[in-house]
Amino acid sequence: MPDLLIELFSEEIPARMQARAAEDLKKRVTDGLVEAGLTYAGAAALSTPRRLTLAVDGLLAESPTIREERKGPKVGAPDKAIEGFLRGAGLSREQLEERETPKGAVYFAMIEKPGRPAAAIIAEVLEDTIRNFPWPKSMRWGAGSLRWVRPLHSILCILSDEAGASVVDLDIDGIKSGNTTRGHRFMAPEEFAVTGFDDYAAKLKRAHVVLDARERAEAIWQEATNQAFANGLDVVEDNGLLAEVAGLVEWPVVLMGAIDEEFLELPPEVLQTSMKEHQKFFSVKNPKTGRIEKFITVANRETADNGATILAGNQKVLSARLADAKFFWENDLRTAKSEAGMSAWVENLGNVTFHNKLGTQAARIDRIAALAREIAPVVGADADLAEQAARVAKADLSSEMVYEFPELQGLMGRYYAEAAGLPQEVANACEAHYSPLGPGDDVPSEPVSVAVALADKLDTLTGFWAIDEKPTGSKDPFALRRAALGVIRLVLENDVRMPLDRFFDSQLLRAESAANGELPEENVNALLKEIAAHGVFGSAFEAVKDRIGGLPATAFLELERRVPDTSDDLLSFFHDRLKVFLRDQGIRHDVIDACIAMEGNDDLTLLVKRARALEDFLKTEDGENLLQGFKRANNILSQAEEKDGVEYSFGADRKFAEDATETALFDALEAGGAAISPAIEAEDFAAAMRGMAALRAPIDAFFEAVQVNADSEVVRRNRLNLLSQIRQVCGQVADLTKVEG
C-alpha cells in the first residue's frame, strides 16, 4: 500500500496559525480521501514557518469499485419518467432490468462505479483543499487570484511504495506539483528531491529544518532551562510564548543574555511584559531574589560567532525598549508620590471617553464609587475604603506605563497605590477589581476588592443595558457575558447574599442619568436615596413623584417603565449566564429553571443553594418518586381547575375524607408542613426536601386507593383542595412543574 506525502511550501505563515492549519490540512485531505473510497492506516500533520506537511501511510492504491442497485419507475410508466431515471443512472434502456415486486413490474438499474487510482483522487482532493482552505485571513498576490495565507510557492505531492515514488500531478494556477522542497531559508536554501516521508524528514534535518513544532518547542525549552540552570537561574514558564517562538523558527538556536543592571529595579511584570510583547523573549529569574535578571531569545540560525552578533543586537534593542519602560516607571512614580497623587490621573480621565453615550471614564468612576459604597456592607467591607478604592482603581489608565502596556492595567495601579501610601486593601483592589477575567481566573476574596470588582462589572452591565447595547448572537463587543459571569463567580465563591435587583435599579438610574441630559439630577438623587433606604423601585418612584411639586419632567416619568423593564431583562440575562455556568457543573437546566421560578431569584447564592439541593434530591429514589407523585397530583388538579374555571386553594377539610389513605395524607401533610416550614426558613433546602420525601408514601397510597374525581361533588372538590395542598407544600423549594421527567 502506498504512502502519501504532501508539503505546501509558502512564505512565512503567522506563528499563531500554523498548528491549526496543519490539522485542517490533515482533516480536509483525509476526509476527502475517505469520502472517495480511499482508506488509510495513519496520518500525521506537521508545520514550520514556511511549510505545512501531511504524511498519510497505508493508503489504498485505488478506490474500490462500487456497485449500486437503483429502483426506478414501474414498467409501463410514462417515457418521460423512464428517461429521467436513465439520465440519472447514466444508462440506456436495454441496460435496465425488469423485476417483479408486490407492486408490479419495476425497472432496476445496476450501476457500477469503477474504482479510480489514488493519484487521481489525491489530485482532486488536494486541489479542492488548497482552494478552500479555512485560513483565518488569506490573501492574493501577484497577478493571480489564488488565496493562501501568504504567497504559496511550491507543492510537493508524492505517492511512494516499494517500487519507488511518483509525483501526483497537480497544477494550481501555475504552481505545478513536484517531488522537491527547500531547506532553511539561509542555512540550506538549495532545492532537493525526496522519495517519501522518512527521506524528507531526514533530508530536512540535514538542511537545518526541524519539521515538528513540538520537537522545536521541546528543544527550545530544554536548551533554555539548561542554560538558565547552569547560571543558577530559572526560566519563567510561558507556554503561549513557547508555542509562538517555535512557530517563528525552523532551526532554533537558544541564546541567553543579560539585562542591563540599570533596569533590574523595574517591577518583574514590566520586564516580563516588555520582553515578551516586543521581543518575544523569555524571562529568566533568579530564584534567590525573585528578580528577572536575564533573557532568552531564540534565533533561527547558527552563526560563525556562535550567535554573539545576534545576541548583542537583541540586547541593544532590549535596552532601548527598557529605557522607555524605565522612563515611564520613574515618571509615574513621581506622579503617584506627588501631593495630588493618583487623583491627578483620575482627573485626567475626565478627558477620556468611556462610551459616547455613557460619558467619560471619570464620570464612570463616580458611578462605580457610589455603587461600591452601597455594596460594601453586603460583602463586609468598610464603605469608605471601598469608595476610596473604586476612585483610584482605574487611575493607572492615565499612567504612561499602562498607555504603553495596556495589559499591565490594574497591576501598575497596585504598585502606584502602594507608592502613594494608600491603605493596602485599596492597593490590592486596584489590581484585583478586574478579576475574574476568564473562567479559570482566581476570584478576589478581600472584601474591599470584592466590592469594587462587583461594582465595576455591575456598572458596565447596567450602563450598556441602559443604552440598549446588549450582546447578540456571537457579538459581544463589550464582553458583557464575561462581566456577568464575573459577577456570578464573585457572588457564589464569596457566598455573598445580595439582592441584585436593587443594585441594578440604582445603577441603571445612574447610567440613565449619565446618558440622558434631560433627567433632573435632584430627582434622580432623591430616588437613589429612597431605593438605598427601602430597596424597592416602584414605591421609591411613587414616593419621589409625590414629593415633586407640579408636573415632573417627561424624562423622569419615563423611568417608571424603563428602569423595571431593563432591570428584569438584565436579571434574565444573568439567569441565562448562570444556567450556562451551572450546566458546566452538572446541574440540569430544568432544575435551574424550577428554582428561577421562585421568589428571591435575584439572590444568586440562594438560587444556587436551591438548585443544588434539588439536583441532589432528584438523584435519589425518593426524589424521583415524589416528583412523579407531585406531577400526578398537579396534572389532575390543573385539568380540573381548567375545566371548572376555579382555583382549588380553599384548604381541604378532613371531615370529608372517606378513605384511610386520605386521612393518612391529611396527617402527613400536616406533619410535613410543620417540618418543612422551619427548614425553608433556615434555608436548609436539603432538610426541606427530606420532609417532602416523607410525603411520597402517603401520596402513592392515596392515588392507589382513591379516585379523585368522585361522584360526590363535595368529596371531589375536597380531594382537589387536598391535591392543592400537595402542590403548595412541595412547591416551597422549587417549582417542580418545571422539572422534566
Binding site: 501577484g142 497577478a143 552563526t303 560563525a304 552578533t309
Partner: protein, 313 residues
C-alpha cells in the same frame, strides 16, 4: 566595482546604496512627494499607483512627519520628521522576499551573521481605507522593515496585488552603523571635508517643530484648513470629466488626492495639539478615509488607473 563593498559609513551612503540597488532591480527611482505626509505610503506613487491593472515599480525616499512623535531631538529613537524608504512593485514578483533580503545585504547586513525573521504583522491604514497582509522584518530582534502585500486601497480590491516594502531609514541606519543616539549618526562620510552628524542637520529642526506642533500651531487656522481641503477635494472631483477648454477627458485624481494628503496631515497636527477628543478622532479619520476613497474611485477611471479609452466604433 561599486561602492557597495564593505560596511557603509554614513546615513546617506545607506540611502544611496538602496537607491542603486532598487534601480538595478528595475524600479523607477522617484523623488519624494512635495507635500507633508505621515508615511511613504501616502506618496501617490504608492497609494494611487497600487490601484488599477497597470504594472508599476517605483522606489523613493519619503520624508515623513508624525507631529506626536516629536521629542525635541532628545529621544535617541523618536523624531517628528524622519525618512522612509519605500518600494512598490505591481504585480508583486514571486521573488520579492529574496529581492528584499538582497537590499539588506547591499547596505551591509551580512546574512551569515544576523538573524532575519519575518514576523506576522498585518498592515492597515484607517485613513487610506487600505489593508494588506505581511510581516515586520526583524534583524536580531529589531524591526527594520514593513513588508506588505496590498489587498485593498481606498476601498478598492487590489488587482493585481502590489508588494510594498517600507524601511525606517534612521532606525535601520543606526543599527547598521552601530549608533545609539540618532543625533550622533554620521549623516555624510565621517572623513568628509565637513563631516556632519544627523544632529547637525536636524537637531534644531526637531526642537523648532516640536514646539510648534505641540504648543504654537494655530488650531483655528488648522481646523479651517482641514474643512477647506475637504471641500476642495470634493469640488475637484465633482467637475465634469470632459475639460471644456481642451475638449479632452481629464479627471483630476491627483490634484484631488493632494487635498486628501493635506487634510490627513492637518489632522495629525490637530491631534498633536491635543484638541481632538477620542470620539472625534474616529470621525476625523472617517472623513479623511472618505476623501481617499473618492480619490481612488476617480483614479481608477484614469488611464494610469487602467482605464482604456473607448475606440471610435
Amino acid at each position: 566595482m561599486t561602492e557597495t563593498n564593505g560596511a557603509p559609513r554614513s546615513f546617506q551612503e545607506i540611502i544611496l546604496r538602496l537607491q542603486n540597488y532598487w534601480a538595478a532591480k528595475g524600479c523607477a527611482v522617484m523623488q519624494p512627494y512635495d507635500m507633508e505626509v505621515g508615511a511613504g505610503t501616502f506618496h501617490p506613487a504608492t497609494t494611487l499607483r497600487s490601484l488599477g491593472s497597470k504594472a508599476w515599480a517605483a522606489a523613493y525616499v519619503q520624508p515623513s512627519r508624525r507631529p506626536t512623535d516629536g521629542r525635541y531631538g532628545e529621544n535617541p529613537n523618536r523624531l517628528q520628521h524622519y525618512y522612509q524608504y519605500q518600494v512598490l512593485i505591481k504585480p508583486s514578483p514571486p521573488n520579492l522576499q529574496e529581492l528584499y533580503l538582497g537590499s539588506l545585504e547591499a547596505i551591509g547586513v551580512d546574512m551569515a551573521m544576523h538573524d532575519i525573521r519575518f514576523v506576522e504583522d498585518d498592515w492597515e491604514s484607517p485613513t487610506l481605507g487600505a489593508w494588506g497582509l505581511g510581516w515586520e522584518v526583524w534583524c536580531d530582534g529589531m524591526e527594520v522593515s514593513q513588508f506588505t502585500y496590498f489587498q485593498q486601497v481606498g476601498g478598492h480590491d487590489c488587482h493585481p496585488v502590489s508588494g510594498e516594502l517600507t524601511y525606517g531609514l534612521e532606525r535601520l541606519a543606526m543599527y547598521v552603523l552601530g549608533v545609539d543616539h540618532v543625533m550622533d549618526m554620521p549623516f555624510n562620510d565621517p572623513d568628509a571635508m565637513i563631516p556632519l552628524t544627523y544632529g547637525d542637520v536636524f537637531k534644531q529642526t526637531e526642537e523648532e517643530y516640536a514646539r510648534w506642533n505641540f504648543d504654537v500651531a494655530n488650531t483655528e487656522v488648522l481646523l479651517r484648513h482641514f474643512e477647506e481641503a475637504e471641500a476642495e477635494c470634493a469640488a475637484i472631483l465633482a467637475e465634469e470629466h470632459m475639460d471644456p477648454k481642451t475638449g479632452k477627458r481629464i479627471i483630476m485624481a491627483y490634484p484631488a488626492y493632494d487635498q486628501c494628503i493635506k487634510a490627513s496631515h492637518i489632522f495629525n497636527l490637530l491631534d498633536a495639539r491635543g484638541v481632538i477628543s477620542v470620539t472625534e478622532r474616529q470621525a476625523y479619520i472617517g472623513r479623511v478615509r472618505a476623501l481617499a476613497k473618492q480619490c481612488a474611485d476617480a483614479f481608477v477611471l484614469t488611464e494610469a488607473g487602467g482605464y482604456v479609452p473607448e475606440t471610435a466604433a
